[in-house]
């Protein structure tokens, strides 16, 4: 079983075609809850979450002998990850089938990206 990151992106803080009215929001929530239940039943749901905006981010890095922190996101770009699922899927076609459903539910483009490895590094070390 492979794992894939399904990420949604916000552009300059806003998510295009995000639900506007309370009714739209309610319909959106219902679609997402139904989809997540379907993922759960199928054993596809590994993790998911919605992120605060890039203004809430802090970058921590080595600066000489000290660890330096700076306010703001790492990448100064217009686009930022807004939320994501990590799903279990047999192969890319299976992951893309979930991606179709996620796009239909959230009405927003997503990026599907395979994990090279998941879990603890120690668990992924060669046994030989």
């Amino acid at each position: 079983m492979n794992q894939y990151l399904l990420s949604t992106w916000a552009v300059e803080g806003g998510v295009e075609r995000a639900p506007g009215s309370p009714e739209e929001m309610q319909a959106f929530m219902q679609r997402v809850i139904a989809l997540e239940a379907e993922m759960e039943v199928a054993g596809a749901f590994a993790f998911g979450g919605a992120l605060h905006g890039p203004d809430a981010a802090t970058v921590v890095q080595l600066g000489g002998d000290d660890v330096v922190m700076t306010d703001g996101p790492f990448a100064e770009s217009k686009e930022h990850i807004a939320g994501f699922y990590i799903i279990n899927a047999e192969d890319l076609d299976a992951a893309l089938a979930w991606a179709d459903k996620v796009v239909a539910a959230i009405q927003h483009p997503i990026e599907v990206r395979p994990f090279r490895a998941t879990g603890k590094v120690a668990d992924n070390m060669p046994t030989a």
Binding site: D91, L92, D93, L96, V112, P126
Partner: protein, 406 residues
């Protein structure tokens, strides 16, 4: 080069004929494209060393067996490979010593759908299919795409990396996914066919793409566009014997139609008729219908040109491209004369500035109008852009005849 130094034409023939099938089989067994390619490459190098005394009775089987051994040797060299070997050992035992034709055909279809997966960009799909199924060298593909060999090599590496990293499956898609997946496969097949049509050196690509398209039609009998593409290829294929005299190109209007292959025309036309009855027209079916009209005619003058223009009108609705507009304009020349055609050609020229055939068509219409100086510069421009030597020679001949006719 795929076949080592290729000093033996026997090895080279087997390479051209069998490469795609052999790689597809190895990909199924080992589930890894790069390993399959490397092992098949090794096997052809060994063949070129050992086949000096004669080609074995079943050369493709010999290559598969040898490549499989080489792949196992390669896998044994590292720990991950040894793990993988345990997974494939069952398949290996099952396969030892025999090649099931049905299975081999499925192997190729699986690999086609992998190579033409919509998660890969189109130029990568085409490059992979030509490399893995057609057996073209990286350099040959690079030349047909007008990019450098290192750039093409990089493209192939990236495409194979994505197949492996994203785990694009080796599988014939489920019914629900077939229409979308098929569209990219058909586009790639047609491009391969045309590569074989344009270059006599690569004529085996025609047979290869026809064979694969037939297999696709058998797999998807309810998909009219697959049938349409097959009909289009068959009707083009029927004219191959008349397309050249020696190395010289002969245009459709000048071809000796008695050389056309009647059996292929019958087959192509029967498919077109079945498509018309089905009533779900698509771009390939309409292009096949246009070719069927040509194949009906005893000569260019006897051709039902108004019918061809009307089919192009329909095609333009479904496929509104500049190349379709250009082809329609050429047909208009046969119905309404060169002035009307030239106006239509001029309307698309700016969008096809680098396409030699737009300038060749302009040259032809200008010649018919007696505007010889302009015709000459159009043919010269076409010649400068023409991708193959026979086309350049053909265009030079047009220029020479222009001077002689004045």
């Amino acid at each position: 080069m795929g076949a080592g130094d290729r000093n033996s034409s026997g090895v080279e023939n087997v390479f051209r004929e069998a490469y795609g099938r052999v790689v597809a089989t190895l990909v199924r067994v080992f589930g890894d494209i790069t390993l399959a390619e490397d092992a098949v490459q090794d096997a052809f190098v060994i063949a070129s060393e050992r086949w000096g005394d004669g080609i074995p009775p079943n050369p493709a089987g010999w290559i598969v067996t040898t490549a499989r051994r080489r792949a196992i040797d390669r896998l044994r060299r590292d720990a991950r490979g040894r793990e993988l070997l345990q997974d494939v050992s069952y398949t290996l035992q099952e396969q030892e010593g025999r090649i099931d034709q049905g299975l081999v055909q499925d192997d190729q279809l699986r690999l086609i759908f992998t190579c033409c997966h919509p998660a890969l960009r189109t130029e990568h799909q085409i490059a992979l299919t030509l490399r893995l199924l057609g057996g073209l060298s990286v350099d040959e593909i690079a030349r047909s795409f007008l990019v450098s060999e290192p750039a093409m090599a990089k493209r192939l590496v990236r495409a194979k990396y994505k197949i492996r990293a994203a785990n694009i499956p080796y599988r014939i898609p489920a019914d629900a996914d077939l229409p979308v997946r098929l569209r990219s496969v058909l586009a790639v097949m047609y491009l391969i066919y045309n590569t074989g049509l344009d270059d006599p050196e690569r004529s085996s690509l025609r047979a290869e793409s026809l064979r694969l398209t037939r297999a696709l039609v058998a797999l998807m009998p309810d998909e009219p566009e697959a049938a349409g593409l097959l009909a289009l290829m068959l009707l083009n294929e029927a004219r191959v014997p008349a397309r050249r005299i020696g190395d010289e190109i002969v245009l459709l209007r000048d071809q000796d139609r008695s050389l056309w292959d009647r059996a292929l025309i019958q087959e192509g036309r029967a498919i077109v008729r079945a498509c018309v009855r089905r009533g779900q027209p698509g771009p390939y079916q309409l292009q096949a219908a246009i070719q069927a009209v040509h194949s009906d005619a005893a000569s260019s003058a006897d051709t039902d040109w108004p019918q061809i223009v009307s089919l192009y009108d329909h095609l333009l609705e479904l496929l509104p491209t500049a190349v379709v507009e250009l082809n329609r304009a050429i047909a208009v020349g046969e119905v309404d004369g060169p002035t009307a055609a030239l106006a239509d050609i001029d309307a698309v020229t700016s969008r096809l500035e680098e396409y030699h055939l737009v300038h060749a068509a302009r040259g032809e219409m200008l010649r018919r109008l007696g505007r010889f100086d302009e015709a000459q510069s159009a043919f010269e421009r076409a010649g400068a852009l023409a991708p193959t030597e026979p086309e350049r020679r053909f265009l030079n001949k047009q220029i020479a005849e222009l001077s002689a006719g004045r």
